[in-house]
């Protein structure tokens, strides 16, 4: 599994995303730039320039037509994937920490940070898909402030009227998209900050990673914890591999203390865990800083990891990965 090293960012990666076909890989970083790459050979297709601050988050729609990004320059921008032009820009009082498209691509949810007297807020916008995309409504269709602990990650749940959030306290919750009411919550899902949240293809379950050194698989409707993967390092990202029963976890010790310790101690590997048995099956080394974000291609043929070291590493799975049945012949539903 020889990796392709994508060298296009000058600072640490914040999020990476595959498009639905898995042929394009989008990456954003603290150097204000968003890149798009061919997943197949690692060639850079282009960049999306315009943000004046760390780009914290990106998401691409299922048709690979629009790209949405959120940044520390207090804007959320909509881009044309094909031309790299910025189509629309929303301004907020604080930084945008997380964005996500709905399943039908007609809505965007975003989290803005709690800072300078402004409460952390979740907003939902309608996206006008007719025309060239420059004509978007400035006002959100829904706006609410989750009380108690602040939300750090979010996504649309299995139905478009529910928004799934992960909080600083380790809580996961479901909010009604229109009223902003907390429909359901699991206060003790994690013991520390939730760092990532990724949904299964049909959005019926999801994985969260946390600084408490565990990743957990939850049922989207009941928020019940299905599986727990306990590691020995704080986790920054977790992803579900389609077609094979694995989850991928990445992390490493605090970026702050990395310089004082050797590579050996950092635990900067991407870990593969068996989704059902909760056993670690393997590790992939490579980054020389913590792994900040992991994404698996929706086709399940490759995965990519973005690190604090500024590199994206794309790994195409070997033939043996697909053939191997390390746990016998049991058929496992996706």
């Amino acid at each position: 599994m020889r990796p392709i090293l994508l060298q296009g960012h000058e600072r640490s990666l914040t999020q990476i995303k595959f498009n639905r076909e898995g042929d394009l890989l989008f990456s954003c970083s603290k150097d204000h730039v968003i890149n798009v790459w061919f997943a197949d050979n690692g060639e850079r297709l282009g960049t999306y320039n315009g943000h004046n601050g760390t780009v914290w988050t990106i998401d691409v729609d299922s048709l690979s037509r629009f790209l949405v990004s959120g940044s520390a320059d207090n804007t959320m921008r909509l881009w044309s994937v094909q031309t790299g032009k910025c189509l629309y820009s929303w301004e907020f009082p604080t930084a945008v920490k997380r964005v996500a498209f709905s399943e039908d691509d007609d809505q965007i949810v975003c989290i803005t940070e709690q800072r300078m007297g402004h409460q952390g807020a979740i907003r939902v916008f309608d996206i006008d898909r007719e025309g060239d995309g420059t004509d978007q409504s400035k006002e959100p269709v829904s706006f609410f402030n989750p009380t108690s602990s602040k939300a750090v990650v979010c996504a649309f749940a299995h139905t478009p009227n529910l928004i799934l959030t992960g909080h600083e306290s380790g809580k996961v919750a479901l909010f009604d998209a229109s009223t902003g009411e907390e429909v359901q919550a699991n206060e003790r899902a994690h013991m520390d900050v939730i760092t990532d949240l990724q949904l299964s293809p049909d959005r019926s379950y999801f994985i969260t990673s946390s600084r408490d050194k565990t990743a957990r698989l939850h049922d989207t409707r009941t928020l019940m914890v299905l599986k727990t993967y306990t590691t020995e390092t704080p986790l920054n990202s977790a992803a579900i591999a389609p077609t094979k029963p694995y989850v991928l976890l990445g992390g490493g010790q605090d970026a702050m203390s990395v310089t004082t310790t050797s590579l050996r101690q950092g635990k900067f590997e991407t870990r593969f865990w068996h989704k059902i048995y909760e056993e670690e099956v393997g590790r992939v080394k490579g980054h020389f800083g913590p792994v900040n974000t992991i994404a698996v291609s929706p086709k399940g043929d490759c995965y990519a990891s973005g690190g604090e070291d500024g590199f994206v590493r794309v790994h195409h799975f070997d033939e043996s990965y697909f053939r191997a049945k390390p746990y016998g012949d049991l058929e496992i539903e996706d």
Binding site: D23, T159, I276, Y277, I332, E333
Partner: protein, 755 residues
């Protein structure tokens, strides 16, 4: 004429009220008024002529113990018939407190060889006299059988135990084959009352390790250190067995046969007002001491000592030596050195100074008792049966160069105190005494300096104790030796030497280069010859297997290297019988290398089959945890655990099998091992079947859940009026051609053109 409810009338009635009940309640007890009078028994019987002298002597003795008593305050009853005293004294003190103190200080005081004082309160004497004379049969206590403290040895699978201390949790595990590993006992520290968090800051600031747990040397007891003292646990249910109240205890040491316990606390003993009294507690005379000796069986305090903190020439206090008290191998004696002056040896169980005087040795620095080997024990048993006097204990000590006297190592007999062997040494800066575990050899590691005192080199002076006149052989080395270790029960030793200039002042990240050498006794010739040296290494620790033969060399405490090397010194032991004499040192074989990142400790299990390494949070906080390896260096278990502190194998007592029985077992080893292999095979198939079933169950649960959820999701989608997932039609459009240009360098030719 008194008005019925008049103010004045009420006043007048007061005289008639009966106060007797209140008076009874608050009556001052006159009968306790004699509390300041003591009755001193055991006083020599004298006639009139010696009376004055005796009283003066008694008065002096009391004064010495801080309980002043004037001769005129003593009254001695007289027997007029014989004209002699009756042998006891009434002593009047100023008040009850003084009397109580005098009683505590002087009761049981040996006045002279024949007379010992026994003191009672005068009021007590009366009470004893008034005792009810009719005897009442005491309720017989129902006998509760005690748990067998060595029950763990009866384990059917013959497993060993180990204790781990992590965070606030102490666990005792069974260690065996993977299927047989289990937690034997688990306890939260707060249950047993370890005030770890409370004490940590204080302890680390004093440079000591944290509070910890410890096994007794034969594995019978498990000791935990608390703020209030030491607690011992044992038996299959881990009941508390004993406690020793020594507040703020920091260090403990057991005697080799688990008869006694020594405790040390940095804070001098202080007995507060109203503290509990009794043989198990400190009394006022123990105030200010640091070291306490306890009888393990009764829990009684035997004696306390102030700890001697040796001072350097410049007045800086050096670190205290621990153990401060050294036990002879048979628990008969315990010795304590006062550096530069003498060694004091105390007899057990009385804890009296042997022969009433210390062994005066000018300049003595350190001493060691000779351990007892199997032979010694056999002899001792025989001697006991035949009624002969058992062999004496050996004791070795060294003195540095003073004035015109050379440094000297001396071996003496104890208790006869006769000198057996003495050897003079020159240019000595430091000596260390190492007895071989059977007491066959004594190695004195002598660090010598050159005339200029600039460089240090090392001599090993090896005394062959079993031979006549203790012949000494010297192994001269050019480098400084940092670690020396005898093979247990063997005739080999290993040393780590270094000529690295950085030795002694290790910089951060720098590894000291070391050489490791093995030496072996040449039978017949009687000297030690080098087996093998491997140079240019980083190892700094030698760990012999307790059964000998195997040894692990480790790099411990380094931040950049953490290697473990497993060696076998008798690798071709099986072929040896067949014939030709093998080459010297040919049996040494490197079995394997392992790595436990940032390890701080390595310890063999009592059977010599497994090695445990641990990285303790007391030293650093990186990858704390422990690992267990087999003797070849194969990792068996590894646990990375936050806040892991301590790993301890439970020691085993000496085997009860006779030599013949052991030989029998060794002969039939193949037979046994076949049996074990069969058991293993059966078990393995059981486990894998279990695991497969477990996984099947997990998968079935998951699949059932997925089927249900998928249906529900599809249902919801239909309700929302959406199509079925479009996954299927997307399959076709994926046939996409990707054209990739690949540049490949086939050949590169460099031509040089000459004009």
């Amino acid at each position: 004429m008194a008005p019925p409810n008049g103010v004045n009338g009420a006043h007048d009635d007061a005289d008639d009220i009966d106060y007797s009940d209140i008076e009874a309640k608050y009556k001052v007890g006159y009968d306790e008024g004699f509390d300041n009078i003591l009755v001193i028994g055991g006083v020599p019987v004298v006639d009139k002529s010696k009376l004055e002298k005796l009283l003066a002597k008694i008065s002096k003795e009391f004064g010495r113990k801080g309980a002043p008593l004037k001769p005129e305050d003593m009254f001695m009853p007289w027997d007029d018939n014989t004209g002699k005293s009756k042998g006891f004294i009434f002593a009047t003190f100023k008040n009850a407190e003084d009397a109580a103190y005098a009683m505590a200080a002087m009761n049981g005081y040996p006045f002279d060889a024949k007379h010992t004082f026994h003191i009672n309160r005068f009021s007590d004497v009366e009470r004893y006299a008034n005792l009810d004379e009719t005897w009442v049969e005491p309720e017989p206590e129902t006998y509760k059988p005690k748990e067998h403290l060595r029950a763990w040895l009866g384990d059917l699978q013959g497993r060993d135990q180990y204790a781990t201390y992590r965070g606030d949790e102490v666990e005792v595990h069974w260690h065996g084959k993977p299927s047989q590993c289990e937690i034997a006992h688990q306890r939260n520290v707060s249950d047993i009352g370890l005030y770890v968090l409370l004490r940590r800051s204080i302890i680390t600031s004093q440079g000591w390790t944290d509070l910890y747990v410890s096994w007794s040397p034969l594995g019978t007891y498990f000791a935990s250190l608390h703020r209030q003292g030491v607690r011992l646990w044992g038996g299959p249910s881990w009941e508390a067995q004993h406690r020793f109240a020594h507040p703020f205890v920091k260090l403990i040491d057991f005697s080799p046969n688990e008869n006694y316990l020594v405790t040390w606390s940095h804070d001098p003993i202080h007995v507060p007002e109203g503290a509990q009294q009794g043989p198990q507690y400190f009394s006022p005379e123990d105030e200010g001491s640091n070291i306490a000796v306890w009888d393990l069986k009764t829990g009684n305090l035997l004696r306390t000592f102030p700890s001697a903190m040796p001072e350097n020439e410049d007045g800086v206090k050096r670190q205290m030596q621990w153990p401060a008290l050294k036990w002879s191998a048979d628990d008969q004696f315990v010795g304590r050195v006062t550096p530069g002056q003498h060694i004091s040896v105390y007899e057990l169980p009385s804890m009296r100074l042997h022969d009433k005087k210390s062994i005066k040795i000018e300049g003595v620095i350190d001493f060691e008792w000779c351990p007892h080997g199997d032979k010694d024990r056999e002899e001792a048993e025989k001697a006991e049966k035949t009624g002969k006097k058992p062999k004496e204990n050996l004791l070795a000590y060294w003195t540095p160069e003073v004035a015109n006297q050379p440094a000297r190592v001396t071996v003496i007999n104890f208790p006869s105190r006769s000198i057996l062997r003495q050897k003079n040494l020159f240019n000595v800066s430091e000596c260390k005494l190492y007895w071989q575990s059977q007491g066959d050899f004594l190695c004195v590691k002598v660090d010598r300096h050159t005339k200029t005192k600039k460089s240090i080199f090392c001599n090993l002076e090896i005394f062959r104790v079993r031979e006549k006149d203790f012949p000494v052989e010297v192994v001269e080395l050019k480098d400084a030796v940092t670690d020396f270790s005898w093979e247990p029960k063997g005739e080999r030793f290993a040393i780590i030497s270094s000529s690295d200039p950085n030795l002694g002042n290790p910089g951060p990240g720098a590894n000291i280069k070391t050489d490791v050498s093995f030496y072996q006794l040449v039978r017949g010739k009687g000297d030690f010859k080098l087996l093998r040296t491997s140079s240019n290494r980083t190892s700094n620790t030698i760990r012999w297997s307790p059964k000998g033969r195997h040894v692990v060399l480790g790099t411990v405490g380094s931040t950049s290297k953490s290697e473990l090397e497993f060696w076998d010194l008798d690798f071709n032991i099986d072929e040896k019988r067949e014939g030709a004499k093998e080459e010297w040192g040919a049996g040494i074989q490197h079995l394997g290398t392992a790595d436990h990142y940032a390890l701080t400790d390595a310890e063999w299990d009592p059977s010599g089959r497994y090695l445990a390494t641990s990285a303790s949070a007391w030293r650093h906080t990186i990858e704390n945890g422990y690992a267990i390896w087999d003797f070849r260096g194969q990792e068996l278990e590894k646990h990375i655990l936050d806040r892991f502190k301590q790993f301890l194998w439970r020691p085993r007592p000496r085997t009860l099998l006779t030599k013949d029985q052991q030989r029998q077992i060794r002969r039939n080893l193949k037979e046994y091992s076949r049996q074990f292999d069969e058991e293993d095979a059966v078990e393995e198939s059981n486990i894998s079947a279990e695991l497969i079933a477990h996984r099947k169950r997990l998968v079935d649960e998951w699949n059932a859940w997925r089927v249900k959820v998928k249906e529900e999701v599809a249902e919801e989608r239909r309700k929302r009026g959406k199509k079925e997932p479009k996954a299927k039609d997307s399959q076709e459009e994926e046939k996409e051609e990707i054209e990739v240009w690949v540049d490949e360098v086939i050949e590169q030719i460099e031509e040089e053109i000459v004009e």
